[in-house]
C-alpha cells in the first residue's frame, strides 16, 4: 500500500516537472522545437532593442521632469510654458528677456541643469566603479573622493585656507583635496597592481584619515562655520551659476563618454583579471584610465554641489534592474536614471522648502524607491 502511494506521488511529480519544463520552453521561444542559431540571434537582437527602448523611455521621463522642475517655485509656470520659453530662447538667442524668460533662464535653469549633470555624472561613475570593483556597494566616492572634498571645503570655510583667492576658493579646495586620495590610489595601481578589494580598503582607510582631520577642524571651528560645512557635506544645488556650467557639463558628458567607451572592457573585468587578460585586455592600464575618469567626474561635481550621496550608488542599481548589467547599456541608463532621480528630488525640494539641501531628499526619495524595486524584484540581478 505505502509503496503504491509513493509511486503515484513520484509519477505525479514527474508529470508536473515535465509539464513545467515544456511550458517554460514555450514561454522562452514562443514555439516548440529545436533552437536554431537564427532564433538565438533574433532573440538577442530583440532583447537589445528592448533595452535601448527602455533607455529612450527614461530619457523622455528626464525631459518631462526637467520641464516640471523648472516650472516649480514661488512663481510657478506650466510645463508647456516652460518648454515654449526654452524653445523660444533657443530659436532667438539675442532676444530681450521678459520676466518669465528671466525666471526660466537666469533663476532656475542653472540649478536644474546642475542637478541634471550632477546626477548624470555621479550615476555613470558609480556604475563604472561597481563594475570595475566587482562590488555592488561601490560608488563614485569609493576611493575617498567625498572625504577629500569635504576636508578641502572645511579648510576653506572654517580656517579660510584656500589654494586660490576669490569666490571659487572653496570649490578649488574641494576639487584638489578630492583628488588627493584618488591620486594616491591611482599611484598605488601603477606601482603595486592592487586587487579591487585592496583598492576599496585603501579608499576606506583614506576616508577615515580625512574624516578625522575634518572632524577636528569642525570641533574647533566657530558654530556658524561648522553649520555651513555641515550643509555643504549634505550637498545642495542652490549655489549653481551659469559660469560654472561649462565645467560641470564638460566633466559629466566627456567623463560619461570615456566610461561608455570603456564599457566592453568593464564587462569583461567582471569575469576576473585573469580572464580579462586572456582575451587581450591590459587590465592594469584600463583600471587606471577608468579610475582617473571616475575621479575627475566625481571630484568635479562634488566640488560644486557638495557631497550628494546615494545617487551614485542607487542610480546604477535601479538601472540594473531594468536593463541588466551589460555596461554598454547600463552606463547610459544609470546616467539617465541618476539625472532623473536628481530632478525628481529637486522637484520635491521646490515643493517642500526651496532652501532644503537636495542631498537629504535624494536619500529620502531614493531609499524607498530602491527598497520597493529590490523587494519586488524576481529575477536575479546581483
Amino acid at each position: 500500500m505505502v509503496k503504491i502511494k509513493y509511486k503515484n506521488k513520484i509519477n505525479n511529480l514527474g508529470k508536473k516537472l515535465r509539464l513545467s519544463e515544456s511550458s517554460s520552453k514555450m514561454v522562452k521561444h514562443g514555439t516548440e522545437g529545436p533552437v536554431t542559431n537564427e532564433l538565438i540571434i533574433k532573440e538577442y537582437r530583440a532583447y537589445k532593442y528592448a533595452k535601448v527602448l527602455m533607455l529612450l523611455v527614461v530619457a523622455v521621463l528626464c525631459i518631462v521632469a526637467f520641464g516640471i522642475d523648472i516650472g516649480l517655485g514661488a512663481y510657478s509656470l506650466s510645463f508647456e510654458k516652460v518648454y515654449s520659453l526654452i524653445i523660444d530662447r533657443l530659436m532667438d538667442w539675442n532676444q530681450t528677456m521678459d520676466t518669465d524668460m528671466r525666471v526660466v533662464w537666469e533663476l532656475r535653469m542653472p540649478r536644474v541643469l546642475m542637478g541634471l549633470f550632477a546626477g548624470l555624472g555621479l550615476a555613470m561613475a558609480g556604475a563604472a566603479m561597481q563594475s570595475m570593483m566587482k562590488n555592488p556597494l561601490a560608488d563614485p566616492y569609493t576611493t575617498g573622493i567625498s572625504s577629500g572634498a569635504a576636508l578641502g571645503a572645511t579648510m576653506a570655510i572654517t580656517l579660510g585656507i584656500t589654494i586660490i583667492q576669490g569666490s571659487f576658493g572653496t570649490v578649488i579646495n574641494a576639487f584638489v583635496f578630492a583628488l588627493l586620495p584618488a591620486g594616491f590610489i591611482i599611484l598605488l595601481s601603477v606601482y603595486r597592481k592592487p586587487s579591487p578589494a585592496m583598492i576599496i580598503l585603501s579608499g576606506i582607510s583614506l576616508m577615515y584619515i580625512f574624516n578625522a582631520v575634518q572632524s577636528y577642524m569642525m570641533l574647533v571651528a566657530d558654530p556658524d562655520a561648522a553649520a555651513t560645512v555641515y550643509a555643504w557635506t549634505i550637498g545642495t544645488l542652490n549655489s549653481a551659476k551659469w559660469e560654472t556650467m561649462p565645467f560641470i557639463s564638460f566633466v559629466a558628458v566627456v567623463g560619461g563618454i570615456v566610461l561608455m567607451y570603456m564599457a566592453r572592457i568593464l564587462n569583461t573585468m567582471n569575469s576576473g583579471d585573469a580572464y580579462s587578460k586572456s582575451i587581450g585586455i591590459n587590465v592594469n592600464r584600463s583600471r587606471i584610465i577608468v579610475l582617473v575618469t571616475i575621479s575627475l567626474v566625481a571630484a568635479g561635481i562634488v566640488s560644486f554641489t557638495g557631497v550628494i550621496g546615494f545617487i551614485g550608488l542607487v542610480g546604477p542599481h535601479i538601472a540594473r534592474i531594468f536593463v541588466g548589467s551589460d555596461n554598454k547599456v547600463l552606463i547610459p541608463a544609470a546616467g539617465l536614471m541618476g539625472a532623473g532621480l536628481m530632478l525628481l528630488a529637486d522637484c520635491v525640494v521646490q515643493l517642500v522648502q526651496p532652501t532644503l539641501p537636495i542631498g537629504i531628499i535624494t536619500s529620502v526619495i531614493g531609499g524607498p524607491v530602491f527598497m520597493f524595486l529590490l523587494i519586488r524584484q524576481k529575477k536575479e540581478v546581483w
Binding site: N37, I40, I41, R264, A274, E380
Partner: protein, 287 residues
Amino acid sequence: MVLDIKAEDLGVSYGDNLIWEHINLELNEPGLISILGPNGVGKSTFMYTINKILEPTSGRVTIDGIDVMDMSFKDIAKKIAYVPQSSGETFAMTVMDTVLMGRYPHSGYTVTQEDLEIAADCLQKMHMGDYAMRNFNELSAGQHQRVMIARGLAQQPDLLMLDEPTSNLDIYHQIYTMRLLRDIAHERNMTVLIICHDLNIASRFSDRVIIFRKGTVYADGSAQEVLTEKTIYDVYSVKADIMPVDGRPYVIFHADEKDELDPDHQCGVIMDEKVEEAVKELEEQMI
C-alpha cells in the same frame, strides 16, 4: 594553424614560495594535451605563463619564436584562449553576452552579425542554445562551465587552454566535451591544452599527457607511456592497477579502507629513496 610554443628554462615563484623552475616544454603539435598532477603543483600557473596572465620569475615562453612578454595582450589573445575553471561574476549578463566576450580580440566596439553567428554556434555546440537569453547567474555550475567553454571556442584560437573543463560536468557532458575538444584540435589543426584530475578521462582522449610533480615535469608522452602504476604512485601516492581498454591505459585505484592512504603525501614531494624503501618495508609488515 598550430602554434610553436616553447617554455625555456621557465621558473615561477609567488614571493618566497618557489612553484617550479627550469621547466622546458614544447607545445608544437596539434592535438589534445592533458596536464596532470596533484593540487598546488603549478599546473594553472604554467597556463598563466603561456598567455602572460602571470610574469615568470625566470626563463621565458615564446610563441612562434617571440617572447610573450614582448607581445601585447591583444596579439596573444588572437592566438590563445583561456577557459577558467570557475567564474566569479558579480554582475551577471545574459549567457549570449557572456559568450560574446570571447569575440573581444577579433571585433571592434560593435558586435557584428558574424560575431553573433559564431557565438550562437559555439553555444549550440555546448548544448546551451536553450539558455542563450538566461542570466548567467541563473545557471548551475556545470552549465556555467559549458558556457565558459563556448566562450573559449568563440575566441577561435590556435591554442585553447582549459583549466579543469570537466570538473563540474555530468558524465555525458564529460565525454561529449572531451570528444569535442579532441575533434576540434584535429580538425582545426590546433592545440588544446587541458588541466585534468580524472586520469581515465585524460587517458581516453589525450594525444599527449604531461605530468607535473612538485617542482618538475615528471613525465611527458602518450597516455600509454606515461600512465603507469609507478608514475601514479610516485605522483599521487595512490596505488593503482592499469588495465588496457581500447589500447589505452585504464586506471583502477586501490581505494578500499584496507588500502591506507600515505599519511605523508605532500603534493607528490619527491621522497628520498631510503625513505621510500622504509615506507615499503613498513607497508609489507602491516600486510
